[in-house]
């Protein structure tokens, strides 16, 4: 049972690293620096269906670490931004997924909104509070990308519900 859980977590981490790499090949949102698709959120969102907080936190944390190894940004400013965003958004998304107040779309929007705000805050520690003005523009994009990832996760969850009997829940 324990090795099964270990395998599942490792698979989810690798999956989100792959999604992170894949994201770079999508048309970039680069006219707004800092805006990302955030597709790795899909993995976390789907994971809330059958995993506990510890596992999800591990997935988000290790995903940023391993992606930074691959992109060569380990221990740089970008790495701190990425890890703070990933960790904060997984906390918010897990809490919201327990409350049953939002559907996946709302949870995902809140997740990307938190990740953006925390990233901006962390970046403002490096370079002064002026960057907080950037919040408004980033919020518009986090709503956009959050709705897209939320809708994708809804579709995946629908597919997964067919196999629900085969899914073991880990809490």
């Amino acid at each position: 049972m324990k090795s099964k859980k270990l395998t599942l977590i490792s698979l989810m981490i690798v999956l989100s690293v792959i999604v992170n790499i894949f994201e770079r090949y999508l048309p970039s949102l680069s006219f707004i620096p800092g805006a990302k698709w955030g597709l790795a959120n899909i993995i976390i969102l789907v994971g809330t269906l059958f995993m506990g907080f510890k596992e999800l936190f591990l997935i988000a944390f290790l995903r940023s670490v391993f992606s930074s190894f691959i992109f060569g940004t380990f221990m740089s400013t970008q790495f701190y931004l990425s890890i703070s965003g990933a960790v904060s958004s997984v906390c918010v998304m897990y809490l919201l997924s327990k409350k049953n107040f939002f559907s996946f779309v709302g949870i995902s929007v809140m997740g990307s909104f938190t990740s953006n705000s925390v990233q901006l805050f962390v970046y403002s520690l490096f370079s002064g509070f002026v960057v907080m003005r950037y919040m408004a523009v980033l919020t518009i994009f986090s709503v956009l990308t959050g709705s897209i990832t939320g809708t994708i996760s809804l579709l995946i969850a629908k597919k997964l519900s067919n196999l629900k009997d085969n899914l073991v829940t880990y809490h």
């Binding site: 970008q78 779309v105 490096f126």
Partner: protein, 115 residues
Amino acid sequence: MKWTDFVLIVVLLVTSVLFITTSKVSNGTVIIQYENKIIGRYPINLDKKITFKGALGKMEIEIKNGKVRMRESKCPLQLCIKQGWISSPSVPIVCVPNKVIVYIKDNAKQDLMTK
């Protein structure tokens, strides 16, 4: 989708759009900041090209018709250049690899955040 999702999306969108549209300047200063220090101030209504040094080398901004843009930068992704012209104080140009921020400050209004 639940109705709460729509409420969340609409609230976030409306507040940020309001925030952007209410912050236009006629009389502002372009401020160049490098590693938390202000290294240059230039009036927004005076057309000018300014060259300075970022963490990765030479950078150049251009001020024209009350707008400002990054013209040249040595950063790998060139996000700051692709961002194009900005004219609102709520949209700074940020170049993370160069540790440079270029933003517009409204002279008419005392800004709490820059204090």
